[in-house]
Amino acid sequence: MFVKWIAALIVAINANNRAGEVAAGISFALLLALIPGGNLLWTVLFIITFLLKINLAGELLFLALFKLLAPLTDGLLHRLGAWMLNRPFLQDPFTTAYNLPLLPLSRFNNTIVMGGLIAGLLLWIPVFFLFRQLVILYRRRLRDKIAGSKLVKALGRVPLVASIGNMVRKLGGPYLTVR
């Protein structure tokens, strides 16, 4: 599965796709990784990403990666969420939200959920632009060079890379061939 996701991500980076699709996928992966699972908020966000034209392979790949690292940020997220949830001026809206149907199922009153949401939203835009720019730079400066390099050809003989390459060729078609 990971091989497929890696292959699909490589295809997406090299194919005629918007760079923002990959960047948005990675940004959403960060957002979903920062928010603990098992609540309605996470589920809704995850479903939304499936409906948007973003790179799902990149999202899932980076989600798996970020999820491994997310617990390291829990302390910070807890403080951030607690700070937000305890803002006096937000008590009324939060109380109202807490009494609305379904919204409590989002567990927004949990400090880590709230902290993860805030941090994820705040980081979404910079991460998006960062990765978008990286993809653009890659396509502009490295794509063609890497594709024809001896290093890539040598790596292509490594079994794992070879299988990724085969998958990429299957998924990506002509964009993986240097013209």
């Binding site: 194919a15 699972g37 098992g38 499936f50 807890h78 013209r179």
Partner: protein, 691 residues
């Protein structure tokens, strides 16, 4: 191969830049297009009309990717989602009511352990209302009867809470209600089980009572108890003793009689002595000798007769004592037999109270049964906490955080805030009103107990029940129930025969309160039952008890019965009742029972006597014979005494005659001697006669 429409042979600069070049993100592809299209003099971009296969193929791939890059939504997946939502909505509209009907039926069956049916349910999601035309829940203990049924009913739901998977019924109103109605099909469900009605083991069977003398079967009782009576054995023993004594004394007394007869011969010879004619000494000596002989015979006979008489008298006293003991034994037997039929009136002291207590046991037991069933239903409604995960127990990273509590109304999984039923009119005088509040699956959460009230009025008859059912933790009592009944009628006809009554009917007012303790699993209560307009029919005029009850109950305007009771296990374990006429009835009954007891004892005595009639007759005969012997013996003694008197008299006469003769002789001799003495002066002494 055909070139895609996007890459027409001629494109405006605006279209070429905006729709094509802008959507190509790969530098090499963009250069390919810029190389393929060239800007003409007219400002439009042109490509060669004829393209080789490779270029055409490349353009097709580009067109595909450009098309794919349009927009931000995945139309395919959005469409799929729309279709899924649409299917859910259609499914909801088509099957919603049926599914909810089934869910409601399963839920009710889970709570009541019996078949439940809901008809024509209509659920309006947006308004949060449920209507159903009919709902019935079977009685698990009587599968062919309904525990209750509701007619057209409207249920208001809290839609917001419904989205949280919580069923909060804010109001339930029904215009028809029925209970214990018959069913066409069995309402039993698998695993529901039919509750066994528990019968208190210590409930005593009321002993049969009857004060109708005709109903007291003395004959049968004596027959039944004959072996336990002592008088028959005693009379038999007495007769045996009499028979022995008779045989023994008959010979002795006859012998004494003969001796006395012999003696009489001697006495007659003595009596025949003419003392005045005894002039000579020999004659006197003969008379004296006869008297001596007779005296000797008399002494012997007298001694024998006196001894016999003394002994026969002693035996007679023994017989008298035995007869006296026998009579006491008969008295004792009669008393024993009478005791087997309690005519002491002691048990009748609280007759009315006991009679009412029986009725109360049934009535209170019924209410207690309802209360226990409600408790059982509530226990099923309130789930255990075992295995239930609270929010704070959920795993994951959220555990590391903190749940900030915001003020909110937290509802339990199920709650019925208010339910009301009101049925009235419709051509009858019956009106039913009922309400229940705060039924919930988590009473501790809502912090309120279930309260309920029910009233039923039919004409003058009224029944109202109200109470508090509290399943919150740390509470002493589960249920506090009050029941008031007015103008209801009580009609008893069964089990009254033993009281000498054919029927008893009355109107009554009744109120009671009882509290079902959680720890003791029992209920204690008290109440008052007022009986009025009493009508009593005795079984017969001869039945004293029935007549007394009839007269006493008809003489009072009302009877108030105060009662205390304990309910436990399967029903009423104890009822203590005190009626206002207990004392009056007891007094009258005491007098009357004493009279009938006397008559009954007399009958028992007759029956016992009849059983030993032969022995009694024999006893009389034997006693008569024995008395005859005793009289004979007495007669013998009297005869002996008479003989003795005759002998004494005759002896006296003879002695006097001798004395006189001596004196005459003495005087004559004296005179002669004096003459001769004078003549011979003491030469010849005179002979002396001594007796």
């Amino acid at each position: 191969m055909k070139v895609p429409k996007l890459f027409k042979a001629e494109l405006s600069e605006k279209r070429f830049r905006k729709k094509v070049i802008r959507r190509v993100y790969i530098e090499s592809e963009r250069n390919f297009l810029l190389g393929l299209y060239s800007k003409g003099a007219d400002g439009r971009f042109h490509r060669p009309e004829e393209l080789d296969t490779e270029d055409t193929k490349r353009l097709r791939q580009l067109a595909r990717s450009i098309k794919k890059n349009r927009g931000v939504l995945r139309t395919g997946k959005v469409s799929l989602l729309v279709i899924v939502v649409a299917v859910i909505l259609v499914f909801n509209f088509v099957f919603k009511n049926r599914l909810l009907e089934q869910a409601l039926e399963r839920g009710l069956e889970g709570v009541f352990s019996a078949r439940a049916e809901v008809d024509d349910l209509d659920f309006r999601i947006l308004s949060g209302r449920i209507f159903f035309a009919h709902l019935s829940v079977a009685d698990r203990e009587q599968p062919f009867r309904n525990l209750f049924e509701l007619g057209a009913t409207e249920v208001d739901l809290n839609t917001a809470e419904l989205l949280k998977a919580k069923v909060i019924v804010t109001n339930l109103e029904s215009l028809e209600i029925g209970w214990n109605t018959p069913r066409q099909t069995s309402g039993a469900v698998a695993g529901g089980g039919r509750g066994e009605k528990e019968v208190p083991a210590d409930r005593e069977q009321r002993r049969g009572l009857s004060l109708n003398l005709g109903n007291l079967d003395a004959e049968a009782l004596v027959d039944d108890q004959m072996e336990k009576l002592s008088s028959p054995a005693q009379i038999t023993a007495l007769n045996t003793r009499l028979r022995t004594l008779q045989q023994q004394w008959q010979i002795t007394v006859d012998k004494s009689r003969a001796d006395v007869a012999d003696l009489s011969g001697h006495i007659d010879s003595v009596r025949s002595i003419d003392v005045r004619s005894l002039d000579t000494v020999p004659e006197l000596q003969q008379a004296v000798a006869d008297i001596r002989e007779a005296a000797t015979a008399l002494d012997q006979v007298k001694n024998d007769v006196e001894a016999v008489n003394t002994q026969i008298n002693a035996d007679r006293e023994g017989i008298e004592a035995a007869r006296s003991a026998f009579e006491k034994a008969v008295d004792s037997d009669v008393a024993y037999l009478a005791s087997l039929t309690d005519l002491s009136s002691g048990e009748l002291r609280s007759l009315v109270s006991d009679l009412v207590a029986g009725y109360l046991e049934q009535t209170l037991g019924r209410y207690y049964g309802y209360a226990r069933r409600v408790k059982g239903y509530a226990d099923k409604l309130i789930p255990g906490t075992k295995g239930k995960r609270s929010d704070s127990q959920r795993g994951g990273r959220m555990e590391g955080g903190e749940n900030i509590p915001f003020a909110a109304v937290v509802y339990p999984r199920f709650m019925l805030e208010n339910a009301g039923v009101s049925v009235s009119g419709m051509g009858t005088s019956e009106a039913i009103e009922g309400s229940v509040q705060n039924v919930s699956s988590d009473p501790d959460l809502i912090g309120r107990p279930v309260t309920f009230a029910f009233s039923r009025t039919k004409g003058e008859r009224q029944l109202s029940v109200d109470g508090v059912f509290d399943r919150r933790s740390n509470r002493k009592n589960d249920l506090i129930l009050g029941v008031q009944v007015a103008n209801h009628s009580i009609e008893l006809s069964e089990s009254l025969e033993s009281l000498g009554l054919r029927s008893l009917s009355a109107l009554y007012r009744f109120h009671t309160d009882f509290t079902l303790s959680r720890q003791a699993a029992s209920a204690d209560g008290s109440g008052v039952l007022d009986l009025y307009d009493l009508s009593v029919q005795p079984t017969s005029e001869q039945d004293l008890l029935g007549r007394t009850l009839y007269e006493t109950l008809n003489s009072v305007a009302a009877v108030a019965v105060e009662f205390d009771y304990t309910l436990s296990g399967g029903g009423v374990s104890k009822v203590v009742a005190r009626s206002s006429i207990d004392e009056q009835l007891s007094r009258v009954l005491k007098d009357r029972v004493a009279g009938i007891a006397k008559q009954y004892e007399s009958r028992l005595r007759e029956e016992v006597s009849a059983r030993i009639e032969a022995q009694l007759e024999e006893n009389e005969t034997l006693y008569g014979v024995f008395s005859g012997l005793e009289q004979t013996s007495g007669g013998n003694l009297a005869d002996v005494n008479a003989c003795e008197a005759v002998l004494a008299q005759k002896r006296g006469e003879v002695e006097k005659r001798i004395s006189d003769s001596q004196k005459q002789a003495t005087d004559a001799v004296k005179s002669e001697l004096e003459k001769q003495l004078d003549q011979i002066k003491g030469k010849v002494p005179l002979p002396r006669l001594n007796f």
